[in-house]
Amino acid sequence: MKMHLSPKLYSPAVEQAPTRNGYGEGLVEAGKKYPEVVALCADLTESTRTEGFKKAFPERFIEIGVAEQLLATVASGMANYGKIPFMSSYAAFSPGRNWEQIRTTIALNNVPVKIAGMHAGISVGPDGATHQQLEDIALMRAMPNMTVIVPTDAIESRKATLAAAIYLKPVYLRFGREKVPVITTEKTPFKIGRAEIYREGKDVTVIACGSLVYEALIAAEHLKKTISVQVINCHTIKPLDSKTILRAVRKTRAVVTAEEHQVTGGLGGAVAELLGKAYPVPLEMIGVQDRFGESGQPGELMRKFGLTSTGIIAAVKRAVRRK
């Protein structure tokens, strides 16, 4: 299938936008299309990009205050009634603080609340470790009934938000604060639960999510004369697209996962579980190695923690050596 990626993908002129912006646009669009959509926010309306929805549909916006447990439980009640609530806050607090409420009143209760976790990852930068959510994918992935999506750029974020609105299950959507390259276009296919092969290759498969998909593509481009790298955008971490992943890995027989999250329990963990059961091959994991983040500029932190194309290139070489 043709991926219709940005023609400027490998150029320094590639456009940049925060994924949260795509969420904001998608939310307004979902509001226009579906009258059941309501938005709840915990005192972070502007930075979670819920402001556009609030302006367009003031009567369908509910201010919750700094109370993430309330955010989850009120959203649960509204979904139980028949609304489609999008609840947004920083991922550090939601699902960081309200995990049990999400588990009992949303996931076990099985009501279609959409949880948007903003400012995820270390790239939130100067705020430091307290606000750098690096465990949310693990928290949400371990929960039955929950779907987990990490969009790669602003355009995919908009599509994911729209798709989540009519997905009849609870969904966790993860977004970042900083601008990241816009690598997809309106025509790029997106379907919840389907990983997409963005670049063909035969030596190693890099399975990435979020902004690390871009870093993986840059790594692949850099290595093209020596190692043929296949790149998969695995935006849906649960349910994992095991069919696409296994088909790819049977061909390359070596895997690198890349994500802005702890290597424990996130995308890397999910892929390791799959491959361990179905097709064990050498696996390298790019992610945060069981430590907390710290203050710094986003770029500095991504470099320090190895969450860059350079880090991926090294991991690809390690994976190839282990074949």
Binding site: T73, V74, G77, Y81, T104
Partner: protein, 284 residues
């Protein structure tokens, strides 16, 4: 389902419900005794005299919604629902058993009519408030009730909901607090004092009513009163006796979280059958 219009009828129904509760708990071998017995009168009043509902159409869209925040007292809800005709009484013996719709704590998808999944304390009122908010957006006329325990007032999530419902003036929401003064570790005023509870709710812009939670006239009158309160949610603080109807369980915190043993159940059932020794039981 026939509504019960006389106080004596409600009292007898509640007594029947208490007897089945004891049988159910002894059969289950685990679960809570004091809370369910203490709330048997409130549940009887709700299902037989107050709620607009249809046991044959548990998802009827105009029904009043009854949320149970303190999910651990769900046995009394199960028994009352069975008596109201939601499901066969013989299912009551499956409480807490493998494959049963009657889970140890209520699960919405397992049993229509439970309205939500609950158990972890402090989260029910917020769900009911979210529901009431959504219903008001669509001008729905049904009412949303939420039963809470006093012990769960220790939880921050509960007070967040009290703030929320006060801010948004959810007059279609009525909370009924089972003020029985006990929780697992002892008396509420020792574990974490809640008084002055009325003043706290008032300070959060709620309308507050106190009732004797075993007096059917007061229960019904308070709920009617709440319907007439304008631009405020109402909390009915129902003063109840935990373990009500079984002398050795009444007001004893140790009966909060355990079921009776068969011998204790025999004594309890004797008390309930004889209305505390006032009449001769049919099986004596």
């Amino acid at each position: 389902m026939k509504r019960i219009t006389d106080i004596r009828g409600l009292r007898l129904k509640a007594n029947e419900i208490r007897k089945d509760l004891i049988k159910m708990l002894v059969h289950a071998g685990s679960g809570h005794s004091a809370g369910p017995l203490g709330m048997a009168d409130v549940f009887t009043a709700l299902y037989f005299a107050i709620l607009r509902h249809n046991p044959h159409k548990p998802l009827w869209k105009d029904r009043d919604r009854l949320f149970l925040s303190n999910g651990h007292i769900v046995p009394v809800r199960y028994v009352t629902m069975a008596y109201a005709g939601y499901f066969p009484k013989k299912w009551l013996s499956t409480l807490r058993k493998l494959g049963s719709r009657l889970q140890g704590h209520p699960e919405r998808e397992r049993m229509p009519g439970l309205e939500t999944t609950s158990g972890p304390l402090g989260s029910g009122l917020a769900q009911a408030a979210g529901y009431a908010y959504a219903a008001r957006m669509d001008n729905k006329k049904f009412r949303v009730y939420c039963i809470c325990s006093d012990g769960e007032h220790d939880a921050g999530n509960h007070w967040e909901a009290v703030l929320f419902a006060g801010k948004y003036k959810l007059s279609n929401l009525t909370a009924i607090v089972d003020r029985n003064n006990i929780q697992i570790d002892g008396h509420t005023e020792e574990v974490m004092p809640l008084e002055p509870l009325e003043d706290k709710y008032k300070a959060f812009n709620w309308h507050v009513l106190h009732i004797d939670g075993h007096n059917f006239r007061e229960i019904i009158a308070a709920v009617d009163h709440a319907k007439a309160v304008y631009e405020r949610p109402t909390v009915i603080i129902a003063h109840t006796i935990p373990g009500k109807g079984v002398s050795f369980m009444e007001n004893m915190p140790e009966w909060h979280g355990k079921p009776p043993k068969p011998e204790e159940a025999r004594v309890a059932l004797h008390e309930l059958r004889t209305l505390g020794g006032k009449i001769r039981g049919e099986h004596e």
